[in-house]
C-alpha cells in the first residue's frame, strides 16, 4: 500500500499531476485535527494532500482549493511569522480558500483584521448561531452544536462579512465579499461538530463552481 496522501511526512512531489479529480491542498498549521480534515474530505470522495507551510508557492498554484488548518500558533501574538509561505498563498492563489481556527485568524489578520486573545476562550462544545445561510451554511439549521479549541479570535476584517457567531465569539465564521475566501473559528472536521461534513461539502460545492 502506498502511504496514504494524508501523511504529513510525505514530501511534495506533484501528487496531483495528471489526476482529473478535484485537488485540495491542506496547508498544515500544526493542528491536532489537520489529518481529520483530510479524512473528512476523503469520506466526501475528494483526495487531498497535507502540505507543510514551507511548500513553494508555484507548487500550490495548480490546486483547485486550499484549506488552512488550525494550529497551536497564536497569529495575533506574533506567531504569524512561523507560517512560512502562507501569506504568499493568500496573495497569489486565486481559487477558493477556507481557513480553520488559527487558519481563519491568519486570513483575517492578513486582510487587515485584528487577531486578539478572546475575552472568553472556547474549548469543546459551543452553540453556533448562523447569521448568513448563503453558500457555506446552506441547508443547515439556524443554530447547532460545534466543537472549538481556541484562545484567540479575529475581528474587524475589512471586506469580510460575518456568517456565524456564538455567545462568546462574534466571528465564528466569515467570508470575503470580493474573493471566494472563507473561514471558521470552530472545527467542522471533528466528529463532535454537528453538520461538519456538510459544511465541507458546501465548501466543495463552491470549489466546483
Amino acid at each position: 500500500m502506498e502511504r496514504l496522501s494524508g501523511s504529513q511526512e510525505k514530501p511534495w512531489r506533484g501528487y496531483f499531476s495528471g489526476c482529473p479529480c478535484m485537488k485540495v491542498l491542506i496547508v498544515d498549521f500544526g493542528s491536532q485535527w489537520t489529518h481529520r480534515i483530510h479524512r473528512t474530505l476523503k469520506y466526501l470522495d475528494v483526495e487531498s494532500q497535507i502540505i507543510p507551510v514551507t511548500t513553494p508557492v508555484k507548487n500550490i498554484l495548480p490546486a483547485d482549493a486550499l484549506i488552512l488548518s488550525g494550529g497551536a500558533i497564536r497569529v495575533g501574538l506574533g506567531d504569524a511569522s512561523q507560517v512560512g509561505n502562507a501569506r504568499k498563498y493568500l496573495d497569489k492563489f486565486q481559487g477558493p480558500i477556507m481557513g480553520i481556527c488559527a487558519g481563519q485568524q491568519f486570513i483575517g489578520l492578513h486582510f487587515g483584521g485584528k487577531a486578539q486573545p478572546c475575552k472568553v476562550p472556547e474549548f469543546g462544545k459551543v452553540e453556533l448561531f448562523i447569521d448568513e445561510h448563503n453558500d457555506l451554511f446552506e441547508g443547515l439549521p439556524d443554530k447547532f452544536t460545534v466543537w472549538a479549541s481556541h484562545n484567540d479570535d479575529v475581528v474587524g476584517t475589512p471586506g469580510f462579512k460575518v456568517l456565524a457567531h456564538s455567545k462568546d465569539a462574534s466571528n465564528e465564521a466569515f467570508k470575503s465579499e470580493s474573493r471566494p475566501i472563507y473561514g471558521c473559528l470552530f472545527h467542522p472536521e471533528v466528529e463532535h461538530t454537528e453538520h461538519g461534513s456538510e459544511i465541507y461539502a458546501n465548501f466543495l460545492k463552491i470549489v466546483k463552481k
Binding site: 500500500m1 496514504l4 494524508g6 498549521f29 481529520r36 479549541s149 466528529e191 463532535h192
Partner: protein, 319 residues
C-alpha cells in the same frame, strides 16, 4: 466514499509484504484492537516470518496477559508473553513527570523488543500505530500533547526498522477492519487502553502497590459500567477507567479517622479519540462504583470523584 475495510486489508497485506520482504519481523501486541489488527494482518502477510510478542510491564489491566493470549489464539495468532514488570518498575521509580514516564516506557519496550529481535534474527518491528498516536506526539508546528510510547517515546537509535500498517487510520476505522477480519468481539469492540498502561493512570510516582490499587479500581469501573449497559441503564462508554490521584483527604471508616487517596472515575463518548465528551452516568451507577471502590480498596482510597471534562480542553487519559 466511506472507508472500505476490505480494500484496506488487501492493500495493507501487500504493503507489509513489500516492506518486510524476505526478512523476519516481530510485532508487539498489547491486547488492544490496534495491535491485534496489526498482528492478524502481519500474520496473513508474512506467515511464519513474524513473531508476536506481548510484554507484560506490570502496568496492564487485570488478567491481561491470559486474556490477550486466548483471544488472539482464537484469531489464529500465537502470542509469546514476556514478563518484564521488574524492568519497568525499576526504570520508572521516582519519575513523576508524565512525558518522562512515557519516554522511559517507550524506550524499555524497544529494549525488550530488540532482545527478542536478536533471538529471532528479525530486522523489522511491526507496530499498531494509528493516526492519533503520531498526531499527538507532535512534530514541527504540531505541538506535543503526549508522546505516545510507540512514536514520540521511541529511542533515537533503534536496531530495527519500523512497519506501521495502520498509520492513517483512526480507532473507528480500525474496528471496522477488525470486524472484517472476524476478530472475536472481545478484541474488536474492546475499549482503548493506552500503550504505557496504568502508568498514565497513576498521577505522580509509580510503584507496585499503586499499580495494584488502580488496576482494581479500573476493574470495578469496567464491571459496573458494563453491567449498567447490559441492564439498559446507559450506552457502554467509548472509554472508561479509574485514575489514582496523589491527593489525600480525610475520611471516616468504622468510626476511625482515615487519610487516603482519591480515585477519579473517567468515562467518555467518542468516535475517534480526537474529541470526546464526558459520559452521563446515571447517579445510582456512579454511587455503586464509589461504594465498591471505597469498600474494596479501603486501605488505600476513601474518596471517589467523577471527571466531567470534555476533550478539548482535557484529554481522555489524565497524562
Amino acid at each position: 466514499m466511506p472507508f472500505s475495510p476490505e480494500k484496506f486489508i488487501s492493500e495493507a497485506i501487500s504493503s507489509i509484504r513489500a516492506t518486510v520482504g524476505k526478512s523476519r519481523a516481530i510485532i508487539g501486541v498489547s491486547g488492544g484492537v490496534d495491535s491485534s489488527v496489526a498482528a492478524v494482518l502481519a500474520a496473513r502477510a508474512l506467515g511464519k516470518n513474524v513473531n508476536c510478542v506481548f510484554v507484560d510491564t506490570g502496568l496492564m489491566r487485570k488478567d491481561e496477559a491470559a486474556t490477550v493470549k486466548s483471544s488472539l489464539a482464537r484469531a489464529g495468532v500465537k502470542v509469546e508473553v514476556i514478563g518484564a514488570s521488574k524492568l519497568f518498575f525499576y526504570a520508572l521509580r521516582g519519575i513523576a513527570e508524565p512525558e518522562k514516564k512515557r519516554k522511559i516506557i517507550g524506550e524499555r519496550f524497544i529494549h525488550v523488543f530488540e532482545i527478542e529481535a536478536k533471538k529471532e534474527k528479525a530486522s523489522f518491528l511491526i507496530q499498531g500505530t494509528i493516526a492519533p498516536d503520531w498526531i499527538e506526539s507532535g512534530a514541527g508546528l504540531r505541538d506535543t500533547i503526549k508522546s505516545h510510547h510507540n512514536v514520540g517515546g521511541l529511542p533515537k537509535k533503534m536496531g530495527m526498522k519500523l512497519c506501521e500498517p495502520l498509520r492513517e487510520l483512526y480507532k473507528d476505522e480500525v474496528r471496522k477492519v477488525a470486524r472484517a477480519l472476524k476478530l472475536p468481539a472481545e478484541l474488536s469492540e474492546r475499549q482503548p487502553f493506552p500503550g504505557p498502561g496504568l502508568a498514565v493512570r497513576i498521577m505522580d510516582e509509580i510503584n507496585e502497590e499503586k499499580a495494584e490499587t488502580v488496576r482494581e479500581a479500573c476493574a470495578i469501573v469496567e464491571e459496573e459500567l458494563e453491567l449498567a449497559s447490559r441492564e439498559g441503564k446507559m450506552e457502554r462508554p467509548w472509554q472508561y477507567f479509574a485514575v489514582l490521584l496523589p491527593i489525600k483527604s480525610v475520611g471516616v471508616l468504622g468510626d476511625k479517622r482515615a487519610y487516603g487517596y482519591t480515585i477519579a472515575v473517567r468515562a467518555v463518548e467518542s468516535i475517534d479519540g480526537m474529541t470526546a465528551k464526558a459520559s452521563r452516568i446515571p447517579p445510582d451507577v456512579l454511587e455503586r462504583i464509589s461504594e465498591r471502590i471505597t469498600r474494596e480498596l479501603k486501605e488505600h482510597v476513601n474518596r471517589v470523584v467523577y471527571d466531567t471534562t470534555s476533550k478539548p480542553p482535557g484529554t481522555i487519559e489524565w497524562e
